[in-house]
């Protein structure tokens, strides 16, 4: 799965440390214990300070979208453009926060709101480890592994 190189920006250290170790680490309010996405900066509930905490990695699917390769007639295709057919996803962590991510190892026919998912980390040769989601349990038939050529639009 090629996504381009991810670098740290000095603000999400605990998330990327966790990702490297295969653990999902997100934000949690020190005052009211509400959970938030890794890029949250304050607690909208109580205004409290957010710290980092390990999440279960369990999630469910809210919605999805299929990204196809950009055709060449629309201009030069940069090497970092998403090169293949991939499943973009909006997921709800079991702790509550929603994240925008990508699904892998998923059968398109299984896509539905509420599909149980589990966090999975990819460890590329260059750059930071990154987060995708896999179905909680799946018998794979015609799965999207994320590295097939783009498909033709369906009628």
């Amino acid at each position: 799965m090629e996504i381009g190189v991810v670098r740290r920006d000095g603000r999400g250290e605990a998330f990327f440390d966790g990702a490297a170790a295969g653990r999902l680490v997100i934000k949690r309010c020190g005052d009211c214990a509400s959970w938030y996405a890794p890029d949250a900066t304050e607690c909208p509930g109580c205004g409290g300070e957010l710290g980092w905490a390990a999440a279960s990695g369990r999630a469910t699917l809210i919605s999805w979208a299929i990204s196809h390769a950009r055709p060449r007639q629309d201009g030069p295709v940069p090497t970092t453009t998403v090169p293949t057919t991939t499943v973009l996803a909006l997921v709800e962590l079991s702790e509550g926060p929603w994240l925008h991510s990508r699904l892998a190892e998923v059968d398109r026919a299984d896509l539905r709101e509420g599909l149980p998912l589990r966090a999975h980390f990819e460890h590329p040769d260059e750059g930071e480890s990154y987060l995708v989601f896999h179905p909680e349990s799946s018998v794979l038939t015609d799965h999207f592994s994320g590295d097939r050529p783009g498909e033709e639009p369906r009628p």
Binding site: I3, G4, V5, V6, R7, R8, D9, G10, R11, G12, F15, S34, W35, Y36, A37, P38, D39, P44, G45, I62, S63, W64, A65, I66, S67, H68, R70, P71, D74, G75, P78, T80, T81, V82, T86, L88, L90, E92, G96, P97, W98, L99, H100, S101, R102, R112, E113, G127, E128, Y130, L131, V132, P153, P155
Partner: protein, 401 residues
């Protein structure tokens, strides 16, 4: 100071060339549009005592536009930002200003020039980078590189929940193009079919290319005055009967008992929008219901935005927007004409000024081949963010009885 009489009105409309217009900066385009709007009203720049400037992409002008126009002794000057809902917000603040006497002639303008001659259109709102930084950078690296992906999630959620189909969205694209064919200003005027829509490339599935709006350079301005003054000016006034905004603040997290969401709500992000509140407020102020509205100019950054707005305003039930669109109601000859100038899908992308400008043209009866006879009550919408921010304006060629 004269006593305000009746509702505020749009007295002038100015539109530069729109589309692939190169060689003029956004500030220059904005100044040109204001001059055109002021002249259209039969006023001079010396008569303008208020200026509201919409934010746009980087490069759009701010309040320094007043100096570019040589405006002096202004009583109102601000840049406003509610994303795609800004045009409606500007009209409401301009109307309140003239009704309260804070100002007497307020110009409102949007200008942008994201297109460059040698760059693909999609690049204007799309970002690719050799490296991505931080958690948000990771999200972009995974494929969330423009608003297209987020609108695709919203559209897919509606499809999964209500059975809405791509062909139903296509009906909106086809109806809009039929209107555009009747508008000399429209960038895309060749007729399209549902089949053309279905065969257009995926932008992000379930959104085809023909579900997505244009990108345009240009500027549009209007001048708002009191009703009595507008009647003495050059053009037939377009009266501002009502306005509203809606910002639902859908939290991107689980709702329900025990969850962190408030008020026990299930997160309805992507399925309902601020049009619910915005429409109710505006219609109540105007003293009308959806039954009275005969013409709509709806913000159409995507076909789906039109569909969900129709539902949230109450022109059809929740989940029935697809069937409503496919019924043929929205195109020429239909029961509820929508985006009669070709909207942002086919005519020009000037954010909320696209629907507003067409509403003024229709209210004046200046629509030519595309003029709708039943133009008595016109609803105009604005939408910003990922269905996060909404504005509504209700306009009419008539003063309120």
């Amino acid at each position: 100071m004269t006593e305000p009489e009746g509702p505020a009105a749009i007295a002038g409309l100015g539109m530069t060339e729109l589309g692939k217009v190169f060689g003029r900066s956004p500030r220059r385009l904005a100044a040109d549009a204001v001059r055109l709007a002021v002249a259209d009203a039969g006023l001079t720049l010396a008569d303008v005592d208020g200026l509201l400037v919409s934010h746009g992409m980087s490069g759009s002008p701010g309040i320094e536009l007043a100096a570019s126009l040589g405006l002096r002794d202004l009583r109102l000057l601000s840049q406003l930002s509610a994303l795609g809902a800004t045009a409606g917000a500007m009209i409401s603040y301009a109307a309140m200003s003239v009704l309260t006497g804070a100002a007497s002639a307020v110009a409102c303008v949007f200008a942008d020039a994201p297109l460059a001659p040698e760059r693909p259109t999609g690049a204007a709102y799309h970002r690719d980078a050799p490296e991505y930084h931080g958690f948000r950078g990771m999200t972009a690296a995974l494929g969330f590189r423009s608003v297209n992906a987020f609108y695709a999630l919203a559209t897919q959620r509606h499809m999964a929940r209500y059975g809405t189909t791509s062909e139903q969205l296509g009906a909106i694209a086809v109806a809009t193009r039929r209107w555009a064919a009747r508008n000399p200003r429209a960038q895309l005027r060749d007729p399209i079919t549902i089949d053309d829509h279905q065969r257009s490339r995926w932008v992000v599935e379930p959104l085809h290319l023909l579900d997505c709006c244009l990108v345009s350079n240009g500027a549009i301005a209007v001048v708002v005055t009191g009703a009595a003054r507008a009647r003495d000016l050059a053009r037939t006034p377009t009266y501002i009967w009502g306005w509203g905004q809606g910002h639902p603040g859908h939290r991107r997290e689980r709702g329900g008992p025990g969850g962190p969401g408030r008020r026990g709500e299930r997160g309805e992000w992507g399925l309902t929008t601020g049009a619910v509140t915005s429409g109710q407020v505006a219609m109540k102020m105007a003293g009308v219901t959806t039954e009275d509205i005969t013409l709509c100019q709806l913000y159409d950054c995507y076909t789906y935005t039109v569909l969900v707005s129709l539902e949230d305003y109450g022109f059809c039930g929740k989940g029935e927007g697809g069937a409503f669109a496919a019924s043929g109601a929205l195109g020429p000859g239909g029961a509820l004409p929508i985006n009669t100038g070709g909207g942002q899908l086919s005519a020009y992308y000037m954010w909320g000024m696209t629907p507003l400008s067409e509403a003024v043209i229709q209210a004046r009866g200046d629509g030519g081949e595309r003029q709708v006879e039943a133009n008595d009550v016109i609803l105009v919408s604005g939408n910003g963010g990922i269905l996060d921010h909404h504005s509504t304006v209700i306009l009419s060629p008539h003063t309120r009885g």
